[in-house]
């Protein structure tokens, strides 16, 4: 018996040792590409592109590695520290600042082909530019839109907004009130992450919150433009009762059953949620995509595009950039965009007719592309701590009615500036 157990253990350990990687073989360059694509169509499109690359570039082999949005930051940080990071890295631009300043990502500014550099608008490049370097190629972005129950809108006889003639924030508030009735709300705000949603939408009203002084240091200043969106949400929840307080801590997907069931007439969601709606909406549910309300700065809103970067340790940076260039050719960018139900950043890809169809609201989203700007906070060092420790509780308390606008301003400015100051000494 004892012999059998010993043999079984030895076999197990041998099996495990056999799984260990061997010494790197000579031959073609191998690049590891860590992708965060996760929706079935998106994974399929990305893997298909990797296959196409490998079929046409035998000298540069790309290995697809599946990553996860949920844990990418910690995983990358550890891999960078240990010198084992993937060569080509998929991430979001708001996650790049610390990696870029930490020297973990390669500066792509001298490596990018002219075609790719010219195809992506300057506003998008700014989201991945830190200091003088470009540390990622922004390729997919997602505006926030209103997903609405079309039948409820029609029944209430409200004006349907378009990208050319959107609702103002006060008009949106009126419409939400009109759509509210017993047990039914005009809008539901899923604000599990209240900070980025508020800040990104506040750009429409001219809100900036973060101000860079002549000395280059950033301070928080809560001005009139910053208050428009925040006050609208607060008043909808606590004054008009046209938005339930119960969804303030929810994620976007949590509100979908309520939308389908008629409890909410509108839900502000990311553009890519349409894929879930198509899959989950009951037969006969008519929905439509509306642009988010506009303020003094029109439909402008902040986004943090998905990016492709190259690790600073990658010994084959030129090859890695060539692969990125292939992945982001206009036709391929469209495939990635359709797979993720998002908008491509590339101007050529954006012209593709598949992205201008009225079906599933593609045209409404595409019409917003020109108004997308870098998320206000993404260049601010110390933003993650400010967000977690100061802004998230402050906004949550204000939206639930537990504090006033003055209280919100006071906390964001006083406590926030103390946090930011530590990062800017």
């Amino acid at each position: 018996m004892r012999t059998r157990i010993t043999l079984a253990l030895a076999a197990l350990l041998l099996l495990l040792t056999g799984c260990s990687p061997g010494a790197p073989a000579d031959g073609p360059v191998t690049l590891r590409f860590q992708s965060l694509a996760w929706q079935p169509d998106s994974v399929a499109a990305t893997k298909e592109l990797v296959r196409e690359w490998n079929a046409t570039h035998p000298e540069i082999k790309v290995e697809y590695v599946q990553g996860s949005w949920d844990s990418v930051h910690d995983q990358l940080l550890t891999s960078f520290e240990g010198g084992e990071a993937p060569d080509v890295i998929h991430d979001a631009s708001d996650d790049l600042a610390d990696f870029a300043y930490g020297g973990y990502l390669a500066d792509l500014s001298g490596l990018l082909p002219a075609r790719l550099a010219a195809d992506i608008p300057r506003g998008s490049w700014e989201t991945a530019t830190f200091g003088r370097g470009v540390y990622g190629v922004p390729f997919l972005q997602e505006p926030r839109v209103l997903i609405a129950d079309a039948d409820r809108l029609r029944a209430a006889k409200v004006r349907i907004p378009t990208a050319g003639h959107p609702w103002s924030w006060p008009e949106f508030r009126q419409v939400a009130k009109k759509l509210t009735g017993p047990g039914r709300y005009g809008v539901a705000w899923p604000l599990k992450d209240p900070v980025s949603a508020t800040l990104n939408l506040s750009l429409s009203a001219g809100g900036r919150l973060f101000h860079r002084g002549a000395d280059g240091k950033v301070t928080v200043r809560f001005e009139a433009g910053d208050a428009v969106v925040a006050r609208t949400i607060h008043d909808q929840v606590t004054v008009d009762r046209s938005a339930p307080a119960s969804t303030l801590g929810s994620g976007g997907a949590d509100t979908l059953p309520g939308l389908f069931g008629g409890r909410y007439a509108m839900v502000p969601l990311g553009f890519s949620y349409r894929q879930q709606i198509v899959r989950q909406a009951p037969e006969g549910f008519h929905w439509q995509v509306l642009p988010a309300p506009a303020g003094a700065d029109g439909l402008t809103q902040g986004v943090s595009p998905q990016t492709l970067s190259v690790s600073a340790d990658c010994p084959h940076k030129k090859e890695a950039v060539a692969f990125i260039d292939f992945l982001l050719r206009p036709r391929n960018m469209v495939r990635l965009a359709l797979g993720d139900w998002m908008l491509p950043t590339g101007t050529q890809a954006l012209k593709d007719p598949a992205l201008h169809t009225a079906r599933h609201g593609w045209a409404t989203g595409t019409a917003l592309a020109a108004r997308l700007r870098p998320a206000p906070a993404q260049f601010v060092r110390g933003y993650p701590e400010w967000k977690d420790k100061v802004a998230t509780p402050a906004y949550q308390q204000y939206y639930s009615g537990a504090s006033t606008l003055a209280g919100l301003r006071h906390r964001l400015e006083r406590d926030g500036n103390l946090v930011l100051a530590r990062y800017q000494r």
Binding site: L9, L12, L13, L15, L16, T17, C19, S20, P21, R32, L36, W38, Q39, P40, V43, E63, Y64, V65, Q66, S68, W69, D70, S71, D74, Q75, T78, S79, E81, G82, G83, E84, P86, A92, K192, D193, G251, G252, A253, L256, P257, G258, F260, G261, G262, R263, G270, Y273, Q276, R279, Q280, A281, P282, E283
Partner: protein, 283 residues
């Protein structure tokens, strides 16, 4: 009067006990049942504003989708290998160490026990980067062997603590009696102590197995190649940005991921029960 009511009262009490037990079992099994229910619902039913306990139109579409989209079977095999090896190695190392710690109350043994307790307080975020560098030097990054090594180190303190308690529960007088009867040290350990320790060893193995089976972060960081990834890492591939999840396939995969742990528990549990009696009576 009293004799007439007693059987009825007993029956009522027994019915109450069974009802309470059933309720408790349902409470314990609820997450698993809910996972199963979610896994068998269609996307439309998952998005329904009126959630149902039992799927109206059960479908295996989510199970099929989960297997089609992610390498669940190879990942489960990796997890199984790692968890079994972790359990085996942990028990092999922890048993003699725990025996020494429990039986020899020296200053060194007390210091070792103290260190075991203190080592549990280290947050693993603090450990992961030095560990990563050590494993890199040993060429054990992206290797299941390296992962087993980490899990053994991670499980060992608690396993030691657990087993030392079990050793203390075995009366030293039994070993002394065996010695008086002429049994040597090894014979005493094998024939008297080991059978009495069997439940503790089984419980420790179970603990190490479940810890390794469920662990996510070390596996995420240490394994780079897709073919070596373990099940918890692959499960996160069903979760997208901002925590949006492909709920049906995620539930299906998560339900299947719980099954090996349950099977292992069922196997080991029998050992725990039988071990309580084995060796208690000296032949």
């Amino acid at each position: 009067m009293r004799t007439a009511r007693t059987p009825r009262t007993r029956r009522a009490a027994r019915a109450g006990q069974y009802t309470a037990l059933l309720g408790y079992l349902l409470f314990l099994a609820f997450p698993l049942l809910w996972l199963l229910s979610t896994a068998l619902k269609s996307p439309r039913e998952l998005g329904s504003p009126h959630p149902t306990w039992i799927p109206r139109h059960p479908t295996l579409a989510s199970v099929r989708q989960a297997f089609a989209e992610q390498p669940l079977a190879p990942a489960a095999l990796n997890s199984l290998l790692v968890a079994l090896a972790t359990a085996a190695v942990t028990v092999l190392i922890a048993t003699p160490m725990a025996y020494v710690m429990a039986r020899h109350r020296t200053r060194a043994a007390r210091a070792a026990t103290g260190w075991v307790v203190v080592s549990q307080a280290f947050p693993f975020v603090l450990l992961i980067i030095p560990l990563f560098l050590v494993l890199k030097r040993l060429r054990l990054i992206d290797s299941l062997t390296g992962l087993v090594l980490v899990y053994v180190v991670w499980s060992l303190p608690f396993a030691l603590w657990m087993l030392a308690g079990h050793v203390r529960a075995v009366p030293a007088e039994l070993e002394e009696a065996a010695a008086v009867d002429g049994a040597g040290r090894l014979r005493t350990l094998a024939s008297v102590t080991a059978p009495l320790l069997a439940p503790g060893i089984a419980a420790t193995a179970l603990f190490a197995f479940v810890t390794a089976w469920n662990e996510f972060f070390f596996a995420l960081v240490l394994l780079k190649s897709p073919r070596r990834q373990t099940l918890p890492v692959v499960l996160t591939h069903f979760i997208g940005a901002e925590g949006v999840a492909d709920l049906g396939p995620l539930a299906a995969a998560a339900f299947l991921a719980t099954l090996p742990s349950l099977v292992f528990f069922a196997l080991v549990q029998r050992r725990i029960t039988s071990g309580l009696l084995t060796g208690a009576v000296k032949n």
